[in-house]
Each structure stands twice: as C-alpha cells, then as structure tokens.
C-alpha cells in the first residue's frame, strides 16, 4: 500500500476534487494530507479506506476565526497515515460511522465539543458530556488565565462569607 495507489483509488470517486500533499516524518514513515474541496467527498474516501481494510484512528476539529469549522480525519491503512481535511460552514458533516465504525466516538466527540452534527450517525446519545451542558462548549472562548486558575465564575462563596463576617 502506498500513497499513489490510494490516490488512484479515490481519484475517480470524488466529486469536487482535492489537494494531495505527501510527507515523511524523521523515521521515514510516509503520510498523506488530503484537503477536500467538498465535505461530502469524505464518504468516498471512507469507502476507499474500508476497501483497503483501514480504520479511522481519530478525528479532530477546530473553529476558524471566520466561524466555520475544520474537521480532520486521521486514517490508517497498514501503517500509512492519511489525514483528510474538510471544511464546513453549516455545522454539519456527513457521518462515516456507517462505513467505518471506528469513527463512532470521534464523531460523537466532535458533536459534543464543537456542535458539528455528523449527519447519518447511528447514535444520538451523548458520549461523555452531561446533558446540562450545552453542545459545542469548545466553541466558547475561555482565557488561559481563567482556565489555569480555575477561579469560580460565581460570587456565591464570598456572598456567604460577607454575610456572616464578624467585624
């Protein structure tokens, strides 16, 4: 299995085209970066990964300054790492879990943390966040100082203290 072979496999299947970059780490392990022009093409890529008996390692997401989200799937086929990047501006992606069950938790995580809905995902339940927390908590900006110090946002504690203080 090499990058060229994989490229040939998805070339005819994808609809809107993509950009392919090859890379090698310091140990000589090959990896590929595929940037999709249309987010729907992820299905074709997933089908190709499945055909080669590959798996989804993990998927990551982040929110861009413009408000859109970038999702990156990381696939593994016999030790070859294929990273597929796609953009979404309507907070939805096509779920690849029906094709590759290994993407199940990663997609649910993206749904909870970033509010990006994987359409067609078989599981509607929350993965780890409590239902009292809103979807997409990682879209909110939390300053580093607040995160590091963990200082409470409420003043309930000091209100109690000030009420009972004996001066």
């Amino acid at each position: 299995m090499n990058i060229e072979e994989f490229n040939n496999a998805i070339k005819s299947k994808t609809f809107a085209g993509y950009e392919l970059k090859e890379d090698k780490d310091s140990y000589g392990n090959a990896s590929a970066w595929i940037i999709l022009n249309d987010k729907k093409d992820i299905e074709a890529v997933a089908n190709a990964v499945k055909a080669y008996k590959g798996r989804c390692i993990v998927a990551t997401a982040y929110k861009n300054h413009s408000g859109t989200h970038t999702v990156i799937y990381h696939f593994d086929i016999e030790g070859l790492i294929i990273n597929v990047q796609l953009e979404t501006d309507d907070q939805s992606i096509v779920s690849i879990t029906p094709t590759l069950p290994s993407a199940n938790w990663a997609e649910r995580e993206i749904r909870e943390m970033y509010g990006v809905e994987p359409i067609g995902h078989p599981d509607k339940d929350r993965l780890f966040l409590d239902y009292s927390l809103a979807k997409g908590v990682l879209n909110e900006y939390i300053s580093l100082s607040k995160m590091q110090l963990g200082v409470s946002e409420t003043d309930i504690l000091w209100e109690n203290v000030n009420k009972e203080i004996k001066q």
């Binding site: 963990g150 000091w158 203290v161 009972e164």
Partner: protein, 293 residues
C-alpha cells in the same frame, strides 16, 4: 460523670484523597496522641458516634451518606475534614456536587485546609470529642472551644495562614487574581477605603499571593490552626484596610505607593522623604525640578 468512648467511623464523599492521606498520617503518628483521647476506630457505622467526613459530597455519594447517617448511634458528632466540608472547595459550583455536607447533616466541627495539617486534624477531632461529651451529658453545644493543642508552630519553610501588612498593600489586586481558591477579595468602599479580605477556610496555603505580591504586603505565617465549630463557619477572615491619603502638595486624595515600594525605588533616604505623602502628579513635578531646575 461517666467516661465517653468516642467510636470513630470515616466516610469519603468524593474527596480527592488529600485529606484522607493526612488523616491516616494523623492517626498513625504518636505525636498527635489520638489514642489519649480514647478514640476507637470502628468498621461498622452502626457502632459509631463520631463521624468523620472528607470530600465535598458528590451527587453519587449522597445516598451513601444518607444511608450511613440513618444507622449512627445517637447522640453523634460530625467532624468535616478539609475545605470541602466548609464550602466544597475547588469543586464548588459544579453540577456533580450536591454538598457541602451541612446541607444534609448538622456538622459540629469543620477542619479547614486543603488539606489540613495533621495538627489541625488532631485538634478538630479533639474538639469533636469535647462536643460529644457535652451532647452525651445533655449540655448545650458550646459556642467556642479553646485550642486544645497549643503547639501549632511549624518549621519556617512551611506555609500556614496568610496575613496582610496593610502599610505595604496598594490594593493592586495581584493576589486576588492569582489566588486559585478564590480566598482573597479586595473591595472598595464609598469613603475611600479598600478592604482586603483573606478567607482562611478557602485558602489552600499555596503561597501564590505572597510570591506574586510586588510589595511583600501579603505573607505566609506559621499558623495553621483551622479547626472551628460550625457556628464559626464563615467568620474566619483576615480583614485589612487600605486607606487613601491626602496629597500634602495639592491636597487631592490619592492611593499612596507602599513604603516598601518607595524604599525599593529610591535608595537615597532624602529622595525617599521627598516623595512621602505626595500624589503621583506632584511627585513627577518634584522629581523633574530636582533633576532639571
């Protein structure tokens, strides 16, 4: 009067284990003489009349606590170990926390600290035994109990309660900002004062405030006797007042720089005197004249 035998049972209601480790240390070290109090550790809550609770009471442990409370011998005494028993500590405001424990049971003694020192735990349990004796003999619960263990000094490297030198404080709010346990509050009053409060029952003795204070106004002491009766729950506060001053030059009110800061900035004594009781604007003028007039 018959001798009371306190039988101790311990419950962990979602503690981070910090208090539990200190508690075990306290129980094992002879120095704290828990055995001289006649305490017996029991494995069944049915036999216990001295209940020691650690942790902020997580939602999951609530039913376990309620179950244990129903089985206790009466009368019983509840001793809460750690800041969590007072205010839930760093876990407060979390959706997974139903505490503090005094929502569900009448707590008699709180031992604040994150975690408390063994001396403080020994003190709190000794106080709990006193309360138990009084309850057994049908006396009213006391409003205050004298410190039982007098030796609360620690080696110099240990951090204890924080204290404030009002003369050096400029109410810059650095300590309030860096405090991870929300134990420091600086508020201003209408008549030109700043009030600096350190709440010892929330403080975790980390010393961040002292480390970052630019004028050395806040500092750690060696004292850590934090065991208090429940009635004194919210009263353990160190209050400092920081005053505005009137400028001796233009007469306007201003926040003076601390003497410590002035001494650092002006190494010559006559210059330091020149800047006493002058607002920053007049000080700038005075120094400008001194340099260029």
């Amino acid at each position: 009067m018959s001798k009371v035998i306190p039988k101790l049972f311990r419950i962990n209601t979602g503690s981070c284990n910090g208090c539990d480790v200190e508690f075990v240390a306290t129980a094992f070290v002879d120095k704290f003489q828990l055995d001289t109090l006649g305490i017996e550790l029991v494995s069944d809550v049915k036999d216990a009349n001295l209940l020691v609770i650690t942790g902020p009471l997580s939602a999951r442990s609530e039913s376990f606590l309620k179950n244990a409370l129903g089985k206790l011998k009466k009368p019983f005494v509840v001793v809460g170990i750690g800041t969590c028993s007072v205010s839930c500590g760093i876990f407060r405001d979390s959706y997974a926390i139903n505490g503090p424990i005094d929502k569900f049971v009448e707590v008699d003694v709180n031992i604040a600290g994150c975690p408390p020192r063994p001396q403080s735990i020994a003190e709190g349990i000794a106080k709990g035994v006193k309360v138990l004796e009084q309850k057994m003999h049908g006396e009213a619960t006391p409003k205050a109990i004298d410190t039982i263990f007098k030796d609360f000094s620690a080696p110099e490297s240990f951090r204890g309660r924080m204290s404030l030198n009002e003369e050096n404080c400029t109410a810059c709010r650095t300590c309030e900002t860096v405090c991870p346990s929300n134990a420091i509050e600086i508020s201003s009053t209408d008549d030109g004062w700043f009030v600096h409060k350190i709440w010892h029952n929330s403080c975790c003795f980390c010393g961040n405030c002292a480390y970052f204070c630019p004028t050395d106004a806040i500092f750690a002491t060696n004292s850590f006797d934090t065991a208090k009766l429940q009635s004194e729950k919210f009263s353990d506060v160190n209050i400092g007042y920081i005053d505005y001053q009137k400028c001796s030059c233009c007469g306007e009110m201003y926040m003076p720089p601390s003497q410590g800061l002035l001494n650092k900035s002006y190494i010559y004594n006559n210059v330091s005197k020149l800047n006493e009781r002058i607002c920053s604007k007049c000080r700038k003028e005075a120094n400008f004249k001194r340099m260029y007039a």
